[in-house]
Symmetry: C2
Subunit: 394 residues, 2 copies
């Protein structure tokens, strides 16, 4: 049902941006699956396959004999053509019948979610179509895929909200269960067990989800190690889950009180207030049409005004099938982000807002998810309003 | 340890085939991971990264700040260079220092396991190196990757044997537990539960592993449905597991006796004998240097001699990280297999030998795994010598 909705969305997008058809060409997707397959197939194929969506609304799949019956049963395609020895002929036939003036294929310099066609498969596709006018009509499917993947349907938003609510609940369980002497690895195992019990998946690499820092350690150590949590430390978790195929991505911050303390040290409180201010600044700006780099820059200027260094990453990325969902970002105009910070924000996209401030006690941070509405944005779940204080029996 | 062995194997292969260096260029690998990452990193990266193996033995990684510490800790690379805004400069610097005459990059028309570089990433890489002589020195890494992935180390062979032994054990448990009235979906769920209990993964798509046929139904329905098993039917499972990162892929065949029967019908027995003959024919031919299509053709001629139709796929594929492991195959000279059937078989490759014969009672088949030795090949686990007969309380 969801895939049918996304395919219909693709037809509308083709008409909106004036591209005649969208062609996904894949093979043996268990090894490496073109991310577009989430929306055109929703399953693996074993043999080479073509999925074509035309702006007339017609949808045609060419699949190997071994994949044929499942695609017929899916009802997603008007025609499911099958082959045994080669898909070259049915593909040429299909393009001749439709004679599209532009053919969007899955490559993109900046958007990993729209870059599923490998160089070898591109060469193979060109080989199949040698002597036809069609290779000259190839265009990047980036504008198609970024819209189809970015603009969440009500059902996608419902799934993401459910994932975020469950993530907050799991943060709450950790808060109740965490014990003195636990290492970061213990916390990681605790969260992994919780994920297994609840049958939810990870939102990025298993080892690095949750990402955990405690005390004065460098950011960006993906795999939590044997460092024990300690009173006087700031503990920060970056955690996301995948539920019904859609992800959450949230960060929350705790302070572990020392004997006699009732609040966190002033530096920690001050950093948390600036994190809140930065995220609120971004949320107030985020709406359809704004450019991502401007939102990122506004938050950097908050940091500069308070005398903190800037973060070495983007303020926000889109969330969906994975925590990092590709497409436009709220990020600085650095080479590695390419054109992604220059793309206007659209309604129904879901972004994170996230950064941390390093203090001598640990990284103070927050990461929230927001969905873009007609005139602004809404938090997917309540942001953290105050530091969470932990007191261990003293 | 295994990755270090594979990287050292890559250095030896570069020297063997006369390529100066092997360059893997990736980004955000959770979305879609270049299959070469299994051997050059063994983990995800979040930011763009380069992994370079030089024929001198020197190994250099360029990774984003967020991935840096984990790669330093891995000890796999002589140098781990890090960056925040762009990897263009450290990459150009590295190539200038080494000035390689040939640079293998991950694209291949025929081998999915060697085709991890997307078209967008290729364009990005060329952009980074514009104005340098290096893009002209690009060659396909197919000959590197197919050797590194295909030639299993003793540790890889040990893991695959363990997976195959466990798969046979699971077939045995099914034989003991299967009940009258079970549907193919029930069998699938039984095997999935067994996989979960034992903590092993699937060797191809979850829904289609095991693939199951029973009675007179078409082959190639990936997802087992609500068809009940019945006395008088042949039941066939195509099943593989992933254990410690390496896969098995085996097929076994049962016959469900009807009341009063003590053996399968003659057509079924005859088909099973020809399946055995075909597989033994292939095993007798398989040795280093033989071309895959000749082994496949010899089995087709066995089928023709007995008056059976030929199978619509290759006789055998390599097994390893996945059930379908890429590289050379034992298959017919059909367009869709490209050059893969023309590549000489090598020592320490693991192939399947598999085909089925359709009878009015169901598909009779067998799939075995063989490892290529110095002068021939060996079964990884015992092949099925006779049909397995099931009798339900009558």
């Amino acid at each position: 049902m969801l895939i049918k909705e996304k395919l219909d969305q693709a037809v509308a997008v083709l008409n909106e941006i004036g591209i005649d058809c969208w062609l996904t060409f894949v093979r043996e997707t268990i090894e490496m699956m073109d991310p577009a397959m989430h929306f055109v197939a929703g399953r693996d194929v074993v043999w080479g396959a073509v999925f074509l969506v035309h702006n007339s609304g017609r949808k045609v799949a060419i699949v190997g004999q071994g994949d044929h019956l499942d695609f017929v049963a899916s009802g997603l395609y008007d025609d499911v053509v099958t082959y045994t020895q080669s898909l070259a002929e049915p593909l040429c036939q299909l393009l001749q019948d439709l004679d599209p003036g532009s053919i969007a294929i899955n490559y993109a310099v900046d958007n990993p979610a729209a870059d599923g066609l490998t160089l070898g498969m591109y060469k193979r596709l060109k080989g199949y179509l040698e002597g036809t006018p069609y290779p000259e009509r190839f265009v990047s499917a980036e504008p198609v895929i970024s819209r189809v993947r970015g603009r969440k349907t009500p059902e996608e938003l419902r799934r993401m909200k459910a994932a975020a609510v469950e993530t907050l609940d799991m943060f709450g369980i950790l808060t109740q269960c965490i014990q003195p002497g636990w290492t970061l690895r213990d916390i990681s195992e605790f969260m992994h067990n919780l994920m297994r019990e609840r049958g939810v998946g990870h939102a990025w690499s298993y080892e690095g989800d949750p990402g955990i820092t405690s005390g004065d350690m460098p950011e960006g150590h993906g795999t939590p190690g044997d460092i024990p949590i300690q009173p006087g430390h700031v503990l920060r978790l970056d955690f996301g889950i995948k539920k019904d195929g859609y992800c959450s991505d949230l960060q929350r911050t705790w302070y572990l009180l020392k004997a006699g303390e009732t609040t966190a040290p002033p530096e920690v409180e001050a950093a948390f207030a600036v994190v809140r201010e930065g995220i609120e600044t971004a949320a107030a700006m985020l709406k359809p049409g704004v450019l991502g780099w401007k939102v990122d820059e506004a938050v950097r200027s908050v940091l500069r005004r308070h005398g903190y260094p800037e973060y070495p990453h983007a303020l926000g990325h889109q969330v969906g099938i994975w925590a990092h969902d590709g497409g436009s970002i709220l990020g600085p105009r650095w080479e590695r982000y390419g054109e992604a910070p220059y793309q206007p924000v659209e309604k129904d996209q879901v972004f994170t807002l996230e950064f941390s401030i390093q203090t001598p006690y640990g990284h103070v941070s927050q990461e929230d998810m927001v969905v873009v509405t007609e005139r602004g944005c809404q938090y997917v779940v309540e942001p953290q309003q105050d530091l969470w204080l932990l007191r261990f029996g003293h």
